[in-house]
Symmetry: C2
């Protein structure tokens, strides 16, 4: 049984050995070690090794006493990358966490791949998702759109992350209408489509309660905006079968450069599972954002591979995906994936027909 | 009366005009405009202008209908930079917000420069702050340390951001002990030192309540970890005179590179005021982090200058500051500043004596 959390940092530039020691101190004591009382050294982090590489960054492995996380996901993140996020040329690229700590900080992903598949009654096939948009439509219009999308065979119909409580479709009006529209479609199709509203903002707890009463299938949650406790807090309010779809809004500061921040395969892989995501939305290669195909493959591996005894989560590559690209996405991600297509379903004004084509392509 | 939110983005690389249009769509409709129903166009953002610059980034000004923020700070941030945070080469450098929206999203900074000075009974002089550290000490040891620091004349004695609820000093044990130790010191000195505990994590609301009962002077809050609603939520629980000290933990993804993210003077200036900070901690130039002197001057200007009718906040440059550097910090920031010195006060094992020297230097 391990009693340490291990983190690997890439260090770009000179002086990797000294900088690794400085990171260990910064992220634990934040005090020059010669000034610390001897008995406090039990809480100091240590450099395990530093591997230098010609022409690339050095790789430093640091061990943290597990007690530093205090059994809280939030303090675990403060410890791994809080202050050092502000330093240039330092990139968090890998973590390992004892299973007991992963349990203590909330247990991470609740449903995971198998649980989401069970709720949807879809044991093997790729899953389909889309967003209700644009903001500016009325609650009624969004509900009608959701009805058509459900009739067309979309599994997860989520709010756009930019739709929450604006006057065009206030949360308390929109969420019951859309949930009901999806339910009516399910009665016609005999399938299970689910509505996942945005749950965010100062009224997070009240909105989670309203969403639960409306009988939604889960929620879109944004830890970059509402904090890293938000997904499990919303999930607990929604109940046992609720799907947590994590949206990457405002998380991009960490991933938009290769020499600092957090490696995307870690942020959208292991960290997202600790945070409680069942479905992890991230920007796919070949869309409107900058990740490479290799990074996206690594994200999928991080979302599904062995880690701290946590359940695997479903990668949901999005951001400019089209029905035409579905075969390539299947090729890249296999079947344990949520295929997320937004705007392209609106191309010819018939979202139901487009959804049927999307489904046919994904199930081919 | 303006009914738009204005944002300025630097765009690095080619194709600035097209990319500016794409940002306006991404951050509002997230749907190709030709697919959007005509009546929904009322919620679309627009490019006002794009100024190209030889050898530097282009500057794009975009206007968003004020209703897109839905009266929520969180949706305002989603709108300004949510998805586009994931794009390389795009940097949010300036925002302007109508005063009515700033009020609607929570009213921002509550006490501000004047309010903090009034609570501390220090109408003009520079203010002094430090952190209780290292993690690993007992609650009793941290309380004794706080007592000495208060006797030595430190105004704001905060928890280290890495100290929250670990077994060495559990929150419910530590916070009343430290608050009491600071109170006892105040009775001896006749001055007002205040204790600001870390309020963070899954028990945020309960901890805020406990802290209020213990009679603390405010809290250290980390919006990068606990979400951007957390500061005002904690402040409301603590009461009217509570000081919100914002810590930059996990916010560094946005500032550690010059070609994307959010300009530090905006993040630690206007945005921190919207979020509700009275005191904004940021990494000073010449310490352990990478900001330049010019950036730090701009942060101080952003924290205190005219913006949306909001109160000015106190800049608190930290991260490797020493008593020796106090004159230079006074030169750089003037008197409306919280001078934050951590480890250096522990140099010779006499934090009271070091605090007295710190105070003498700052009040010289």
């Amino acid at each position: 049984v391990s009693d340490v959390v291990t983190a690997v940092y890439e260090i770009h530039g000179d002086g990797a050995h000294e900088r690794a020691k400085a990171i260990a101190v910064e992220q634990s004591h934040e005090l020059p070690t010669q000034f610390a009382p001897k008995h406090s050294l039990v809480s100091l982090a240590h450099v395990v090794d530093v591997v230098e590489s010609a022409g690339g960054p050095a790789t430093a492995t640091i061990e943290f006493p597990v007690e530093l996380a205090g059994g809280e996901l939030t303090q675990l993140l403060v410890m791994l990358f809080g202050n050092v996020s502000l330093q240039r040329g330092v990139r968090l690229v890998e973590i390992d966490v004892p299973a007991a700590l992963a349990t203590a900080v909330g247990g991470g992903t609740r449903l995971g791949v198998d649980g989401v598949r069970q709720v949807l009654g879809a044991p093997e096939r790729p899953l389909l998702a889309t967003a209700l948009k644009p903001v500016g439509l009325s609650s009624r219009e969004l509900a009608d759109m959701a009805h058509e999308l459900a009739l067309g065979g979309i599994d997860l119909i989520k709010d756009d992350q930019g739709v929450n409580n604006q006057h065009w479709s206030p949360f308390a009006e929109r969420v019951p209408l859309v949930a009901d529209a999806v339910r009516r479609a399910n009665e016609k199709t005999g399938r299970t489509s689910l509505y996942l509203p945005t749950v965010s903002g100062p009224h997070l707890d009240e909105h989670a309660r309203l969403a639960g009463e409306a009988g939604v299938g889960g929620a879109l949650v944004m830890p970059g905006i509402d904090g890293f406790s938000a997904p499990l807090r919303v999930a607990a309010a929604l109940g046992r079968d609720a799907i947590v779809l994590q949206h990457p809004s405002f998380l991009g500061g960490f991933t938009a450069d290769d020499s600092h921040g957090i490696a995307p395969e870690l942020l959208f892989g292991r960290i997202s599972r600790l945070v409680g995501a069942d479905v992890v939305v991230f920007p796919n290669s070949g869309g409107r954002f900058g990740l490479t195909e290799a990074q996206c493959r690594a994200i999928a591996a991080g979302a599904t591979g062995e880690f701290a005894g946590l359940r695997p989560a479903l990668p949901a590559p999005g951001g400019g995906m089209t029905v035409e690209k579905v075969p390539a996405m299947l090729e890249q991600y296999g079947r344990d994936v949520v295929q997320l297509i937004g705007g392209d379903l609106h191309r010819d004004g018939d979202v139901r027909g487009a959804s049927e084509r999307f489904r046919a392509a994904a199930l081919a």
